[in-house]
Symmetry: C2
Subunit: 161 residues, 2 copies
Amino acid sequence: MSSPVPPTSNPSDFDKTHIRHAILQAQIGFQEGGVPIGGALVTADGVVVGVGRNRRVQKGSAIRHGETDCLENIGRLPAKMYQGCTMFTTLSPCTMCTGAILLFGIKRVVMGENTTLVGGEQILRDAGVELVNLDLSECKDMMAKFIAAKPGVWREDIGEK
Amino acid sequence: MSSPVPPTSNPSDFDKTHIRHAILQAQIGFQEGGVPIGGALVTADGVVVGVGRNRRVQKGSAIRHGETDCLENIGRLPAKMYQGCTMFTTLSPCTMCTGAILLFGIKRVVMGENTTLVGGEQILRDAGVELVNLDLSECKDMMAKFIAAKPGVWREDIGEK
Ligand SMILES: [Ca+2]
Ligand SMILES: [Ca+2]
Ligand SMILES: [Zn+2]
Ligand SMILES: [Zn+2]
């Protein structure tokens, strides 16, 4: 049985600091008229390897979600580098991004929220990936505002009719 | 008369923290066989807007320096966003990147070093841009190692024969 990751009661300073990089990307995406979801890949030492945002609308891309745009901006890294990193994402990773996280061997995912969507959390958990849900109202509010304004774009983003 | 920015005697925690994002990019570039120069654009609140690295070799690009690759990864931002940001770069910005910094209205530049090259520092200073030189041996050492290994690539990078 799949159950969404509950809100973390006591988030670390590390997680609260670095989700900001992903949130800024989501805000930029919102201003661009895109789907406001951002990602950031951060080392265990708190160094930002790269950031990205959903650019489906902006680039006419099918696969540029927050997490995949972040990974593509970074370019090709040695496998070992991904393994020590945390992927920060403003929203629970969709199935495609879940697969990308597994492919690259990323061991830790911190999400801004999973009220708007619960993605591949069970798949990640089963693979031993650590999941944290910060349950941030600013992430939920941004998505609610976007979905109300552009429901069709959002349905397409999550593969619904 | 142009004089290089002297080493900063008392760098702030902000500058010491955020130059790390640019240094990681330079290290990735080195591993890729490229010119090891990295950039990071960071808000006054310490949020990373984007990162990049010299990818002349990797992408066969003439214009992807640390700073310009960072700006291109980010995409188009409203003018106001750039103005509150600091551009971190592992090496004194070349003339092209100096021009890009002025074009986008970035008001503050923190460099890892200017021993390997002194770029457009006087132009930036004359335009009122704040310059900080962290004078980091790890940046100088990486460039020395690269230039010793690939002198021709470096000469091309700085427009020399
Ligand atoms: Ca998505
Ligand atoms: Ca350069
Ligand atoms: Zn996705
Ligand atoms: Zn340059």
